[in-house]
Symmetry: C2
Subunit: 385 residues, 2 copies
């Protein structure tokens, strides 16, 4: 297990890369097996003596293990710096916080851009299709390796929230509390449709090379940028776009051309261009596919409550945002309803916000307050100081 030290002292920068030996294959839902799995992860805080203060943070589609502290790739603060830190809902002085890059990702954990140890070549499309349950299975291996039996909390937004639900379904005895934010128990037709547009945009790029671009020295940057642009619109609300950009122009007057006239066009182009610098196109295909395949009820006889039948001791917190049209409150309500049907304990808050789906990553004091209150109450029940 490697270990690196960073400049960020407040939250620490522990973590590293964990490689599993041939005796520890990751068995996937597809029935394929991944040997030599590597998991890139990061930790904040210290595991207490009775190993009861561990929190697993699960990241969303294009995020990574750098939930707090400085992201070494970008030099920017981690994506949940408003939630993880001294005096915040997840406090490294109290909790041992773990965040790992998902299987299929491109930030260090084994994914389609990794080298297949058996062939010596980059996987590309020979990488097996993975699921949310596979991501969670890999996380459980990491948690085992870190010597943690039970997680005080597992928490995440969007795809992270799907992992939270999967943890509760697959490892109920290893979860004390579960926080699912801006998420859904299954991908809707519209969710799948938007992801399919993104995948088609990537695969339409001749530089994708049938998925084999890495071996051929190419990168499907244009296609991936278009995919990101389309997805990015779904992360924001109509109101947020109108408030931020409206019909404001880049310059005085229209260009009468196809240059970016409107600020929203320039913003979207920037989102696309900067994304391709930090993300792998095949990982985008695999992770969107995992989300599309996600349907927690389907694996439990079509009844979502059945997924939580053994999780009624888990303390659940479900949060949604009023303007999130990607994973609208109706999805969170269906989770709450299933938890109620399973007689599980659940707190549910729909938070008034005009920021759309991305609200879970932004400065949302009501969300931070709700998280703080829930975590503090769970900590008391857990007997943490």
């Amino acid at each position: 297990m490697s270990r690196d030290t960073g400049a960020e002292q407040l939250v620490g920068t522990d973590g590293g890369l964990l490689r599993f030996g041939p005796d520890q294959p990751l068995r996937l839902d597809s029935r394929a097996v991944l040997n030599g799995l590597e998991i890139a992860y990061r930790t904040y805080g210290t595991l207490n003596a009775d190993r009861s203060n561990a929190v697993l943070v699960c990241h969303a589609l294009t995020l990574d293990q750098h939930a707090a502290g400085e992201n070494p790739a970008t030099g920017k603060p981690g994506w949940w710096s408003k939630v993880i830190g001294p005096g915040l809902a997840l406090d490294p002085a109290k909790h041992f916080i773990v965040c790992s890059n998902v299987v299929g990702g491109c930030m260090g954990t084994t994914g389609p851009s990794s080298v297949n140890l058996e062939t010596g070549r980059v996987y590309g499309l020979t990488f097996p299709v993975i699921t949310i349950a596979d991501m969670v299975r890999a996380q459980a291996m990491l948690i085992d390796a870190l010597g943690i039996e039970t997680l005080f909390a597992v928490v995440g937004g969007s795809m992270g929230g799907m992992q939270v639900l999967q943890w509760a379904a697959d490892y109920p005895d290893r979860v004390f509390s579960a926080i699912c934010i801006a998420s859904a128990p299954r991908h809707s037709a519209q969710n799948i449709a938007f992801h399919e547009v993104g995948r088609q945009a990537v695969m339409a790029d001749p530089d994708w090379r049938g998925g084999d671009y890495a071996s051929q020295g190419a990168r499907p940057e244009k296609g991936l940028a278009v995919a990101r642009m389309a997805a990015h619109i779904t992360y924001l609300s109509e109101a947020a776009l109108q408030r931020k950009f409206g019909r404001e122009l880049q310059r005085d007057g229209l260009s009468w051309s196809f240059d970016a006239d409107f600020q929203v066009e320039s913003y979207l182009r920037h989102q696309g261009a900067s994304f391709v610098d930090r993300f792998d196109a095949n990982s985008y295909l695999y992770i969107t596919r995992a989300m599309d395949y996600f349907d927690l009820a389907e694996a439990h006889g079509g009844v979502l409550a059945n997924a939580f039948a053994k999780a009624r001791h888990v303390r659940f917190c479900v949060l949604s945002f009023t303007s999130d049209w990607l994973y609208p409150t109706t999805e969170s309500r269906s989770i709450v309803k299933a938890l109620n049907a399973a007689a599980a304990r659940v707190s549910f808050v729909e938070i008034e916000s005009d920021k759309g789906h991305d609200a879970f990553l932004l400065d949302e004091p009501v969300m931070h307050g709700a998280l703080q209150g829930f975590v503090d109450s769970a900590a008391q029940a857990r007997g943490l100081r």
Copy 2:
């Protein structure tokens, strides 16, 4: 003026192609001038003796002049066959119905795929950027050529509705009644964003060749298909997608690949593939641009009511659909509010439908009833039988 006869007898197939001479240039908002403008149009019914029964139907982004009867290109019924026909709201036995392909289009009217008479080459990106007002200006030239002074009604949905509003603003004395369906007085930031994604998808395709694909024997089909797929999602509601497709699979079980597993994926791919057979990529760029530039208030001192200051004698009908998130009811309400402020006469109906934006093209009896009632009442006021 050419004239063709079709198989559809109920509504007739009159129309043809109108070419304007060098003495009749189309002066564009961009200050460019189009010489030798050709307008492809189609008519249904007969102009009455006092020329008081003409109805102009304005089409949406990817539609055409074939509003009723058989579309010769596809062999299918026209796109508004549920509205135009014997006993329907627009009845060729009562009305002289005209529908023309917009300037910038690709169904016969001059557009970027036309040959520039001055150079002998296909325009491509040398075609001037056009606006909704330019489309309406060309329609006015057509109406002049057909000997019509005043339209009994001008009617359209989506981009067609924008043209309707522009007619009322620019030619109030030539409009007796105006019907604006599922539309908006200006394109929102989200509207622009989705269009920009589509344009970027087209321009990312190497076969677009900087817009010069026609001269080079190429076609940016993949990029245009992606653009269409993204746009198509915005035409449907989340509920409609869920009802039509849900998470239904194409086959028994998942493919564990990137094939189309879900029916919604297959449907979208089909939408993309069939679109490129019937539409020109550059026309897609130009027409989306015209829509993005549309802001009726902006041209009238920022006050939408001012656009209708001379239209208070026009009978307006504004219709919206509850599940239309592309042009939501709030947009129609802002039109109604401006018409009220201008002391114009307006009927407004928000129609309960889960079909999303595309509802205006579908079997929506409440819409058909509202149209019929409004048209009949206006006809009575106009002294039509």
